[in-house]
């Protein structure tokens, strides 16, 4: 479990995160949603340690990440996997080398074992046979799947996904969503997804945290989102009249 306790972050006096307290649960897909500029990406970067918080604490399974020195942090980081918005694959490496990279750096596996592990991960994301292609030679959806394979290669306890569906067509987006969900349940990973794709949220979200103007404005599950009277959340999730009608239909169980 990841616990975020009362964290704040500001840039040049501009308070981007204000006293946020939130938990992310293992074996569940935990969403952070919010409008562009609401602070959700900063929150994720603070959680994974790419940014330092001004105050507050981040705890990974009882271990205070904020109080650790960089050596201990590196150990916790080896338990993390992250899928980036732009995939962030190493473009000088093949698909296989990308997935093998964390294994080469940290595991004590033999070359054969690493190869087996890579093939397992690639099969898991339906990319078998693509080992020797470079990121520039595969589609955006395949790049995302390679990113997932790399993220899970070290058997992570925590998986972070930053806008996993951005730039993908709706069908590929659903494939990626389902993959994230399956992997989360299969390996009991604490998954945190940052997104403003409401289709993903409704499709695979177990717990949803809504960030508004740097504050945690609402949290709950996807059923509760349909019943909420929170205006900001309603305007975010159901921005158009058409979407508001859909909400009514879903809430009333009609249609």
């Amino acid at each position: 479990m990841i616990e975020v306790k009362d964290i704040s972050k500001s840039f040049d006096g501009n308070h981007v995160l204000k006293n946020i307290t939130v938990e992310f649960f293992p074996g569940k897909v935990n969403f952070i949603i919010g409008r562009s500029g609401s602070g959700k990406s900063v929150l994720t970067k603070c959680i994974v340690g790419l940014m330092e918080v001004d105050k507050g604490e981040i705890v990974f399974d009882g271990r205070s990440f904020t109080k650790m020195d960089r050596w201990d942090r590196r150990i916790v980081r080896q338990e993390m996997g992250m899928l980036f918005q732009g995939s962030a694959l190493f473009d000088s490496m093949t698909v296989e080398e990308n997935v093998m990279f964390p294994l080469k750096m940290f595991s004590k596996m033999s070359a054969g074992e690493m190869k087996d592990r890579v093939n397992f991960c690639l099969e898991r994301v339906n990319l078998q046979g693509k080992n020797h292609l470079y990121p520039s030679e595969i589609s955006g959806g395949m790049q995302k799947r390679t990113g997932i394979a790399r993220a899970i290669s070290m058997n992570p306890k925590y998986l972070f996904c930053d806008e996993p569906n951005s730039g993908l067509d709706p069908q590929t987006a659903i494939v990626i969503d389902n993959l994230i969900k399956e992997i989360t349940y299969e390996f009991n990973i604490t998954t945190v997804v940052v997104s403003h794709d409401m289709n993903s949220v409704i499709e695979i979200g177990d717990y949803i945290n809504f960030i508004y103007q740097g504050e945690l404005w609402w949290k709950g599950d996807k059923k509760e989102i349909l019943k909420t009277q929170n205006d900001e959340l309603n305007n975010f999730v159901f921005p158009s009249e058409f979407m508001k009608e859909i909400k009514e239909v879903l809430r009333d169980g009609r249609g």
Binding site: L50, R77, M80, D91, M105, F106
Partner: protein, 234 residues
């Protein structure tokens, strides 16, 4: 950044391979341009010196002597490294800068990899290993070209040229130039890596980082050249 760069590497075996790759990228792939420039520079220095000796009191072997001194003391280390700061420095800054803006460095950091060390240390070590060899090659090419052009155009005989080459030769001058090349290698790789590593923004900023890397490297090389000359030769 340098503290992170020089912390103990995660896996030495991985780093060894990276260093070999970087020696190829930084050094071997620059051999052609260094050789070409050195050949022409040696030839031109020989011809210019010959053209400027219009007094019968100045012996012909001065041409060989001047070519040797120019090639060893300044061209092979300083000028070659200035050229390499353009080729290698901009390449390093743009490579690391692109990795920064496309979140590849963030990906490494999140995995727990010391990205500064992984990306920069092999480049520094590789450059410090290969630059002295390139400098020796530049000296050899320049001096050989001078001999060939000097004798083929008839401005100096090979005997006179060789006499000039060996006249009052101080082996320490070669050591001095090799020391300079190692220092310049360090400057080029660290300055370029720094500008690439701290790139923020997009493609435009990667280009700016690359330009800054070259400009700062050149300025620092010139300052270091002056300081090292003062310290080592006087």
């Amino acid at each position: 950044m340098l503290v992170n760069v020089f912390t103990r590497p995660e896996k030495r075996k991985v780093y060894k391979k990276l260093i070999v790759d970087e020696i190829d990228k930084i050094g071997i792939q620059s051999l052609g341009i260094v050789a070409l420039l050195s050949l022409f520079m040696g030839a031109v220095v020989t011809l210019q010196t010959a053209a400027n000796i219009d007094s019968g009191w100045i012996p012909k072997w001065t041409i060989g002597f001047t070519t040797r001194q120019t090639m060893i003391l300044e061209f092979s280390s300083t000028i070659v490294c200035l050229i390499l700061s353009g080729k290698v420095g901009s390449n390093i800054a743009s490579e690391i800068g692109t990795m920064r803006i496309s979140e590849q460095i963030d990906a490494m950091d999140i995995m727990g990899v010391n990205s500064a060390s992984y990306l920069i240390l092999p480049k520094i070590i590789a450059a410090m290993i290969i630059f002295p060899f390139m400098v020796i090659m530049a000296m050899a090419c320049g001096i050989t070209a001078g001999a060939m052009i000097g004798s083929s155009t008839g401005v100096i005989s090979l005997t006179d040229y060789n006499y000039g080459l060996t006249y009052y030769f101080e082996p320490f001058q070669v050591s001095y130039t090799l020391i300079k090349s190692v220092v310049f290698a360090f400057i080029i790789t660290t300055v370029s890596s720094y500008h690439g590593y701290y790139t923020k923004g997009g493609a435009l900023q990667v280009g700016q980082s690359s330009t800054r890397a070259v400009v700062y490297s050149i300025v620092l090389i010139m300052i270091a050249n002056y300081i090292l000359t003062q310290l080592l030769l006087l």
